[in-house]
């Protein structure tokens, strides 16, 4: 877990310092620079916990995006290129996945297997692949009728070759856009699960968990609910803005 | 009836402007029919829409000119007065009725929207049904509740004509009304429009890329190229003795190919780009007669025995 990224935390995010609990951020009265963003109810360093939470969020989101992106794209290729019965079956499956109440499934799974990061990743990915399948399939359908693909197929290229050499390179733009947009959603989903206590297990830091803990200290310590929520929202906002920007960049070339 | 002077229309695509129509003059006398002929993209629809003031920001803008309708400049009208003119005096038959009819609105409601408010509500259904019947829609009464997609292209166009006719218009603007239809229904629609014009004394502004269709319905023709008028005059005269090389090519195209559909032009090359300032004759890059003067100076529209043409070399023969 701790292996990823160049993340550096000033303190151990789980170190308790009860003598210094509920300190406000340093630039507010009563704050100290040892804890630049203050401390929580157990005197743990907020900054370190926020960084630790970011690490979990990004890890989960990246794995989710990889897993669901790969799976969804595979389904899209099979469905769109091979068509026929397989296509209608896979698309019904996609509809079903899109209609799946993700949070509820997560609750059932957590109820049975107990909370864990693996379950979080699994449930988010379980629903996430469907949007890739939908969008990429419709692009494959239109690519399929284009000259270079029909040519390749007339010249005897097999489906695997065509998918790898002709279809995949032409849908990477859309995959990137979808992945960027999914990143934000996955981060929120992870936070929601951790918030409900069925995600990352305390005392490991997570933004959702921090928000959940903060509820008892709304009067005493405004920074407890504010900072993790801000971190969460800004991360999601940038992922959404990026996705939107990429989509606009991608659009004119994708559409005819 | 209709007199257009110095019309200039631009489209605004983001930060770019493109001039689609420049310095166009056109006149249409009461009860007669004028054809606007030109290749696709020459600005015919733009002129037709401009008369109805349908080119507006953010899509585009009528930048200059006057559009006199019954003696008054439509461009000076207030919004509500213009709406009134559109509601009562100018009918419009679109190029593609399938796209032009709101798919969520029944046929009956479509026509009801232009039927005069003076028709009492108890008689409206009958009036609409009778109108449709007179245009060749069978069982019209039982089909008033149908939606446009339940009609064939030819029937949709009859509905569009009914919408126009319900206004009792003085002017009818038809923009390639048969291009989107299948060949078997084209003639029916054309003769219908012609009949209605004669019977009701309506003036007709008829847009087409096809000289042979234009001759069927109109007495006068205005030939457009790249947004400018190339030639203008009585259609029989223009067709038997075209003054302008572009018109020659257009007329030549129908002679070679009797039933042209969309791409009738066999003239090589592309129209010039619609930039703001244009130097020389717009047709010069594709003209077999072009010389140095053509590339530098824009020829004015001048009268050559009852037909006006914008060309430095009227009467000269192509050397190749």
């Amino acid at each position: 877990m701790g292996a990823i990224g160049p993340f550096f935390t000033p303190h151990d995010p789980t170190r308790v310092d009860l003598a210094n609990n509920l300190l406000p951020p340093a630039f507010f009265p009563g704050g100290v620079w040892t804890y630049p963003l203050g401390t929580d109810q157990l005197g743990r360093d907020m900054l370190s916990r926020l960084i630790g939470g970011a690490r979990v969020s990004l890890l989960v989101a990246l794995v989710v995006v990889l897993v669901s992106g790969a799976f969804g794209t595979t389904i899209a290729m099979l469905s769109g290129y091979l068509g026929g019965r397989l296509d209608s079956f896979l698309m019904r499956l996609t509809d079903a996945a899109l209609a799946f109440p993700f949070l509820l499934v997560a609750i059932v799974l957590a109820g049975i297997f107990g909370p864990s990061i693996q379950i979080v990743i699994l449930t988010i990915a379980l629903v996430g692949w469907a949007s890739y399948a939908r969008v990429i399939r419709s692009e494959v359908l239109s690519l399929k009728t284009r000259d270079f693909v029909t040519m390749a197929s007339v010249m005897g290229a097999g489906p695997a070759w065509i998918i790898r050499r002709h279809l995949l390179p032409n849908v990477t733009g859309s995959i990137v856009v979808l992945a960027t947009l999914q990143l934000g959603r996955a981060i929120v989903s992870e936070a929601a699960l951790s918030f409900l206590g069925i995600g990352v297990r305390p005392p490991a830091p997570s933004w959702g968990g921090m928000l959940s803990d903060s509820q008892q200290y709304l009067i005493a310590a405004w920074w407890l609910p504010t900072l993790p929520g801000l971190a969460l929202s800004l991360t999601v906002l940038s992922s959404n803005l990026m996705g939107d920007w990429l989509r606009k960049l991608n659009d004119p070339t994708q559409r005819h | 009836m209709l007199e257009i002077r110095g019309l200039r229309v631009v489209y605004l695509a983001g930060k770019r402007r493109m001039v689609a129509v420049r310095n166009v003059d056109l006149e249409l006398s009461t009860g007669s029919a004028v054809a606007l002929v030109g290749e696709s993209g020459s600005g015919k629809s733009t002129i037709a829409l401009s008369v109805m003031r349908l080119i507006r920001p953010p899509v585009g803008k009528i930048e200059a000119g006057r559009i006199e309708f019954a003696g008054e400049d439509l461009l000076t009208f207030s919004e509500s007065r213009m709406r009134d003119v559109l509601h009562k005096e100018i009918g419009y038959v679109p190029q593609d009725p399938a796209a032009a009819l709101d798919p969520l609105c029944t046929i009956g409601r479509h026509i009801n929207e232009t039927l005069s408010a003076s028709v009492p509500s108890s008689e409206r259904r009958t009036a609409i049904a009778n109108l449709l019947e007179s245009l060749g829609v069978k069982n019209a009464r039982s089909r008033l509740g149908s939606y446009p997609h339940e009609f064939s292209g030819g029937m949709q166009q009859r509905v569009a004509i009914a919408i126009a006719l319900a206004k009792h218009p003085k002017l009818l603007i038809a923009d390639e009304p048969t291009t989107a239809l299948d060949v078997t229904t084209q003639l029916g629609i054309l003769t219908l429009i012609d009949r209605l014009r004669r019977e009701n004394g309506i003036s007709l502004l008829f847009v087409t890329h096809d000289f042979s269709i234009a001759r069927l319905l109109c007495q006068q023709v205005v030939v457009l190229y790249a947004g400018e008028v190339m030639e203008k005059g009585p259609i029989n005269d223009v067709m038997t003795n075209p003054r302008h090389p572009y018109t020659k090519a257009l007329v030549g195209a129908i002679l070679r190919e009797p039933a042209p559909r969309s791409r009738l032009l066999a003239i090589p090359g592309q129209p010039p780009s619609p930039v703001d300032v244009r130097v020389g004759c717009p047709f010069a890059p594709r003209c077999p007669l072009a010389d140095a003067k053509c590339a530098k100076e824009n020829p004015p529209l001048e009268n050559y025995g009852g037909v006006a043409a914008a060309c430095w070399k009227v009467g000269a023969k192509a050397t190749q």
Binding site: L109, G111, S233, V236 | -
Partner: protein, 303 residues
Amino acid sequence: MVRYVLQRLLQAAIVLVVVVTIVFVLERLSGSPVDLLVSSRATAADITAMSKYLGLEDPIYVQYGRYLLRLAQGDFGESFSYRAPVRDLIVNAFPYTAALAVAAFIFASVVGVTLGTLAAVRSGGRVDAVVRGFGFIGQSVPSFWLAIIFVMIFAVKLGWLPAFGSGGVDHLILPAVALGAFPMAAISRLTRSATLDALRADHMLFERSKGVSPSVFLSHLLRNASLPVITLSGIQLGELLSGTIIVETIFAWPGVGQLAIQALSTRDYNIVQAVVLVQTATFVLLNLLVDISYGWLDPRVRT
């Protein structure tokens, strides 16, 4: 239309059956329910007797059939922590969840459609910029953070509204707005783009050429723009429903979501299961209704 409705009905049924089956399989995977029911000192004979009593000795498909039959009768078993039939607990809690979801949905669609239409009509202007910024932020702020911040500001600091519990309309405002913010943003963005698309459509130009009054013009415009918005609203309503779980927990709102989360900590699986099934069924039903109303609005789908 009949064909279309039947098709959607079939699809809805398939999703339901799939979810029911998954829940059934997961339940079996999670170990024998006997362990939960018998005491730790039970003998092997006791366990066998209990298994037989519960029908666990039967082949799996018989058990599955029986399970379906039970569900069809609305029988979700007993809750051992409440010592009451789960069905009664759900029947009591569900109206609260429905009220919350509906309130949030009304807020989201009324505000979202209004803002989106305004932005489209004033496209490129300042109103448009504000609405678009709002939309982006709304789609990036998670409901549970918004809920906590609302409680902190409006309940704790200002004392304007109650922080938790149920009661009058005032209890509903904060949870509904927190829950509705995301769909509101999504709906405003889509309304804006759908209205702009409709405005550019050929048939709106044709409608203008008819010289109809502004109100008639607007009715054509809004009707056309509403189609994609209605589809999205259906999806959003479904997501709202599962969003209630988290917002209910924060506001101690006595709906099925809070029931499920509490049951999770007491390992009262019958409740969890029932909530999942009821929520899924509602979700599927809502989507079905939306699809059908879409067919009713769009004559091209109808035939």
